[in-house]
Symmetry: C2
Subunit: 174 residues, 2 copies
DNA sequence: CGATCTATCTATAACTC
DNA sequence: TGAGTTATAGATAGATC
């Protein structure tokens, strides 16, 4: 009978740790990457923010997201503002005794900064290898079509021209 | 009376378009940025993925997120795989009549690729200007403290060492 | 595989303090 | 301003096709 079939157990709570089963991991990745990009899009539209994102999947697929229209414009305004920050800093200097406490945190921050710089260096290497062209040249026509479908879906979701790109490379081992 | 007070109307449906009121926009940005970073973290942990993300807020604050431990490792394995893609492509070439249809899409894809490359160039400029150091030097001690708190919160949420960084600059006009 | 469904879980808009 | 609350919208785990 139809109503004898258990329709669905629904969305069970899951622990945030690496999913063991590779197939489940891949499915979850696909769903959550989609969700992440959608959230990023919404943030951009709702709050007039700018997001650039690079995601490497467990199976070494590469996904990129960006609404980068005018990063340089934002950069310029940021550079203009930095001159004013100095005034604010000198105000903070009046309470000198708090500095020592914060100095440790500052040191810790600098260490993380080193890691971040290392990350960005990696991104630069990625750029220099010209993988944008390499990868699209090596994409199969089918994959390219799928890629365009993804873009069009996202476009219609946002109901506006959007600079979003999704690249998928074939799984050769599954 | 207490039960006369309307507790909350809850989460109303909202249209995805720029929020007019600046204060609301800022609040929504803060909440949703937090949510976006959390989602990115979960994706990394659950699926063993790698995410690097840069967010510019409407008020020109800068937020970064990354789990970049070994991007170069992933890059290497990616470069190794690309040689095999050519075999797959030659298989697709057997059905030649489908190519013309897809060529338009290919052209369109290349155009978007140009935009993406422009974006990455902007990121490179950002890198060359050494804003990592510039900005932390210009951060007030208070902001730096807040930054460290954010990192520690995220660390405890993930319950593991994590390469995540959040930078906030003072609002001078509010 | 990918698409769909559905019950749940999670994120969050509006509100309060 | 920032931190909590609540109810609802939205995301998604597991199942099915």
């Amino acid at each position: 009978m139809d109503n004898q079939r258990k329709k669905s157990v629904g969305h069970k709570k899951i622990e945030i740790k690496k999913i063991d089963k590779a197939s489940n991991r891949q499915v979850t990745f696909s769903k959550r990457r989609q969700g992440l990009f959608k959230k990023a899009s919404e943030l951009c539209v709702l709050c007039d923010a700018h997001v650039a994102m690079v995601v490497f999947s467990p199976s070494d697929k590469l996904f990129c997201f960006g609404k980068p229209n005018n990063i340089d414009t934002i950069l310029n305004s940021y550079l203009n503002e930095t001159t004013e920050f100095e005034d604010v800093n000198s105000l903070d200097n009046s309470s000198t005794y708090e500095h020592e406490e914060y100095n440790r945190q500052y040191e810790e921050a600098l260490k993380m900064l080193e890691l971040e710089k290392k990350k960005l260096a990696d991104v630069k290497i990625l750029n220099k290898s010209d993988w944008w062209n390499d990868s699209i040249d090596d994409m199969s026509i089918e994959e390219l079509q799928q890629f365009m479908v993804s873009i069009k879906e996202l476009r219609s979701n946002l109901d506006q021209p959007m600079l979003c790109r999704t690249m998928e490379f074939l799984d050769l081992d599954e």
